[in-house]
């Protein structure tokens, strides 16, 4: 659990973080969202004592961080630095193993763990012996994430961890991170200025503006409830579409229904055959398929989901039912 009380940071007269009180319960992935310069990184750095607060208190797992020796505190928190910050003179393997080494883990364990993490972030194992200068920006960033995960900390502070990864790999990373998070249930404070990323990943989102938290809630809350001008402008009017990628076809479809609407046909094929989708498909892709194929209904099957259909109407009603569905 991470908790801050009336946390303020003033840099020579400039208030970077202004009286922030927040709480991230254990196992929650909390997204800190906001425009450039609103104080996200500063807030994160205060939590692992890289920046001393001007006033206010921070609690990690119920303990005031003031009373924990800094090195001990930091070794228990995985930290992904904005702009990566890999050690240029260490190989990828050694970079990933830094915290484990600090915790005196045996060398074999470190190597095994590093290879496992390379698999996890989708880099070839041969990268273990590379130096950071031999990596692309996005690859380096993924190694930065692996490094933060290495010692299996219960708490993660991630400062724009996927910022320079290309869209395809980014989506892959976001998906695998959601998967990992489902099983590992880490307490995560995740900084981003990307609304889509926030809506897709966050259990809860804190919207920051000029050092203050101006809005907070689940992704569903933020999309469906009206916010102030800043919030509306920041989320943008297509925020509902961005929210769709958070949900899967399997959550919204109707089981056992026979396809009724024959309008569903891929245009290239003459016959009218229904579009078949998996229950694992994000709703955003399903909607996109409906638009591309000009159909209101998709057939669902495979990947262990009982057969059924997803219609445009059921998509709408899934969200219309409101809060219970939309977490």
């Amino acid at each position: 659990m991470i908790q801050t009380k009336n946390l303020t940071k003033i840099y020579n007269g400039i208030t970077a973080v202004d009286n922030v009180s927040l709480e991230v319960p254990s196992g929650e992935l909390c997204v800190l969202l906001g425009p450039s310069g609103c104080g996200k990184s500063t807030l994160l750095k205060m939590i692992n004592a890289l920046v001393p607060p001007t006033s206010g208190e921070i609690f990690v797992n119920g303990k005031n961080t003031h009373d924990i020796p800094v090195e001990l505190l930091r070794r228990g928190i995985g930290y992904v630095v904005q702009n990566v910050g890999l050690f240029p003179h260490y190989t990828v393997m050694r970079n990933i193993g830094v915290v484990m080494k600090l915790l005196n883990k045996p060398k074999e364990d470190i190597e095994k763990r590093a290879l496992f993490l390379l698999d996890l972030i989708g880099l070839p194992r041969s990268y273990a012996s590379r130096y950071p200068r031999e990596l692309s920006g996005g690859e380096a960033q993924r190694v930065g994430v692996a490094r933060a995960l290495a010692a299996d900390p219960a708490i993660l502070l991630m400062d724009e961890p996927f910022g320079s990864v290309d869209p395809l790999n980014r989506e892959h990373l976001q998906n695998s991170f959601t998967e990992i998070q489902k099983t590992l249930k880490k307490t995560v404070l995740f900084v981003t200025h990307d609304v889509s990323e926030a809506l897709m990943l966050g259990d809860r989102i804190l919207l920051m503006q000029e050092g203050r938290i101006v809005r907070e809630g689940t992704p569903g809350d933020l999309v469906f409830q009206e916010g102030d001008n800043f919030s509306q402008a920041f989320f943008g009017s297509e925020m509902a579409l961005k929210l769709l990628s958070r949900y899967r076809v399997g959550q919204a479809y109707t089981k056992g229904m026979k396809i009724q609407n024959a309008a569903c046909q891929p245009s290239r094929v003459g016959e009218a055959i229904p579009c078949l989708v998996s229950g694992n498909m994000p709703l955003s892709e399903a909607l996109s398929l409906m638009i591309i194929n000009g159909c209101r209904e998709l057939a669902v099957s495979g990947d262990g989901f009982p057969q059924g259909t997803l219609s445009f109407e059921s998509l709408l009603s899934y969200f219309r039912k409101g809060a219970p569905n939309v977490q």
Binding site: V84, G85, H89, R133
Partner: protein, 249 residues
């Protein structure tokens, strides 16, 4: 393999030339005989190698202490009570380095007197400057996010210095040591006027007796030694830090 071997050619060549200038000066003298007959050059009181030995000893001892002092001071500026001195130290070092070595040595006579020890002290001080400056700048040039992640992962200040900042500053430190040695090889010739011996003795005597050959006899090994040292450091730099990026600049 071929590329690696190629790196050893310049030091080997300079070493050969240096040894020739020390042990076969007659050849060079003969070759330069058009400059006029040598009065004292070819029958000096001591063999040339004796002065070379004195010179090298002077440089080695003073460089050793310059290194120890420079690196210690540089590392100290990373720690709390000394951190305040970093900027003043850097500025002083940069300023003092602009003074010619001859001025520093001349100034040291009234303070320290004549003989080997005062010269060594003056050389240590003068050679300290580039090392100190480079180590401070090298440590400062470690990227902010590297520093941040090192601290953020829970390394102690000492671990950060030894495992991260020092290795990253090493190329700059080595460059500082190189400058320091080369400066001191030439500055040490002035030591002769202060009674410290070395190759400067020949040069000073040559100037006094207007003997060009004697001046060359002293000056040639000094400059060849400087080239030799420079090429050795270039080799070390290439071996340790060379072409790391796979980028040719």
């Amino acid at each position: 393999m071929y590329n690696k071997l190629k790196l050893y050619v310049p030091p080997a060549l300079w070493l050969l030339l240096f040894l020739l200038s020390v042990y076969r000066f007659e050849w060079i003298a003969q070759w330069l005989s058009f400059l006029g007959p040598s009065k004292g050059a070819l029958r000096a009181r001591a063999p040339l190698s004796f002065y070379v030995f004195q010179h090298v000893r002077l440089v080695l001892i003073s460089t050793f202490f310059s290194m120890v002092l420079g690196i210690t001071l540089g590392l100290l500026t990373r720690f709390r009570p000394f951190r305040e001195f970093k900027e003043p130290l850097l500025q002083t070092a940069t300023f003092l380095q602009t003074l010619p070595s001859i001025a520093i040595l001349a100034l040291s006579v009234p303070l320290l007197g004549y003989g080997q020890a005062p010269v060594v002290i003056a050389l240590v001080f003068y050679g300290l400057l580039p090392i100190l400056r480079n180590i401070i700048q090298g440590l400062d040039s470690v990227p902010e996010e590297v520093r941040l992640s090192a601290a953020g992962m829970g390394m102690t200040p000492w671990q950060r210095l030894i495992d991260v900042e020092w290795p990253l500053a090493l190329p700059a430190v080595l460059a500082g040591i190189k400058t320091s040695v080369i400066i001191n090889v030439s500055a040490a010739t002035i030591g002769a006027t202060m009674g410290a011996g070395g190759l400067g003795v020949l040069i000073v005597n040559g100037i006094r007796t207007m003997d060009i050959m004697l001046i060359i006899k002293g000056a040639l090994p000094v400059s060849l030694m400087a080239f030799l040292i420079n090429s050795i450091f270039t080799l070390l730099e290439e071996q340790w830090f060379g072409n790391r990026d796979g980028v040719r600049l």
